[in-house]
Point group: C2
Chain length 212, copies 2
DNA sequence: ATTCGTTCTTGACAAGTGTCAAGATTCTGG
DNA sequence: CCAGAATCTTGACACTTGTCAAGAACGAAT
């Protein structure tokens, strides 16, 4: 019976610990989300823990309590960012009944992203560049890059399928192409170029039928 | 005669001033070149003026004498970097007598660049990302981006010409494609992925005939 | 050789950085 | 209700940062 009691106690203790862990992790994500605000505003180079704390409802000590150091915090930010990003076009892909619907849905989301989430995306490009210097970022960044490539591939192969074809390029090339176009458009958009978004849409509209 | 004398004096003074200016500018470039070493090693975020000075033959005060502030220095670095970069493939384009020669010349330079100048190129991607946050960088960065796009366009249109064709895509799309592929390969290469370079070469070799 | 302008060195300053530890507060199980 | 753990605040630390000013070293013209 002692064994049963300890067994039950163990289960309870485990459950409690799991709950604590979950709560701990939820808090980490809250903090990461707050940090993303400031990171998107200032970029990696100019963002300090204190600045993050001041632009949020937290004090700078809390960040040290939940993260072992600054890199740990930013890695958590990056990972969290990924989850939001990767499913952006999935609904469009799932619901589009023909090529035109897919095209327009894709272009619409593309334009909206560029317009409304420019800050988050410049941060992504910033952190991807940081990964070229800081080994600690590489694993997460490479993983996100893979996910984004897969996301583009889902769009492209669905587009091809709706035309009874197969994508004409490799997944890597398609991702490079769209990512390169988006990056360039983002920079121009942030520089105040009003034609950046329409130019991107034109380009993608023209490109889609030729690559898929 | 007084007029002649003052005229001559003016000419002499002007020449002296031009000489001083030239010397001043040459020194700026020396300093920028030294700064590029450290920037390529550490990236924008982690590079300080003192670190630059310590990794060079200069003291940190000299940088303040020749540059109004840190941004001024880095802008000068970026501009100087541009000049070196943009002509990289010109000889190959000028001398290649057929598609195969152009392909092999291009791929050779591509691989060599990735292998030997990875640090300079990760710095370029870093600074291009910084330009999304720091308006002071934008003008120079956008200009360099244009030059690089033109460089790719020269290769592509020559390749097309050697096959009696015209490039099948816009200049913007071609640049986005190759830049995206290069950026991805660079990150993988820096992460220690031995297949990054051969994969890039394969991809480009396959792509060239389909886009031009 | 002396003077004057250019070039460079040195040291200092204030502000900002990541980190941490001591203690206040809040939560929770008994 | 209360003790102990979890969570959070505050303030301090050692250090780095960009900037600058005072003056030394240098070069060239007189």
């Amino acid at each position: 019976m002692a064994r049963q009691v300890t067994g039950a106690a163990r289960r309870v203790a485990d459950a409690a610990e799991a709950l604590r862990d979950e709560k701990f992790n939820a808090r980490r994500i809250e903090l990461a989300e707050a940090a993303l605000e400031t990171l998107g505003e200032l970029g990696f180079a100019r963002t300090s823990l204190r600045e993050i704390a001041q632009n949020s409802a937290f004090t700078h000590g809390v960040f040290h309590y939940y993260f072992s150091d600054k890199l740990d915090l930013i890695c958590c930010c990056v990972r969290h960012y990924k989850a939001k990003c990767v499913t952006r076009y999935d609904e469009v892909v799932a619901t589009a009944k023909n090529r035109d619907e897919l095209t327009e849905g894709f272009l619409g989301k593309l334009a909206a992203t560029l317009r409304n989430e420019a800050r988050m995306h410049r941060l992504w490009y910033d952190l991807r560049s940081q990964a070229m210097f800081e080994a600690a970022f590489r694993k997460d960044v490479l993983e996100i890059d893979k996910s984004l490539e897969a996301m583009i591939w889902r769009i492209a192969s669905r587009y091809a399928e709706l035309g009874g074809k197969r994508p004409a390029s490799s997944s890597a090339a398609l991702y490079a192409l769209f990512d390169g176009l988006f990056q360039s458009a983002l920079l121009r958009h942030l520089a105040g170029d009003k034609t950046a978004i329409p130019d991107l849409l034109d380009e993608v509209r023209r490109l889609l039928p030729t690559v898929c």
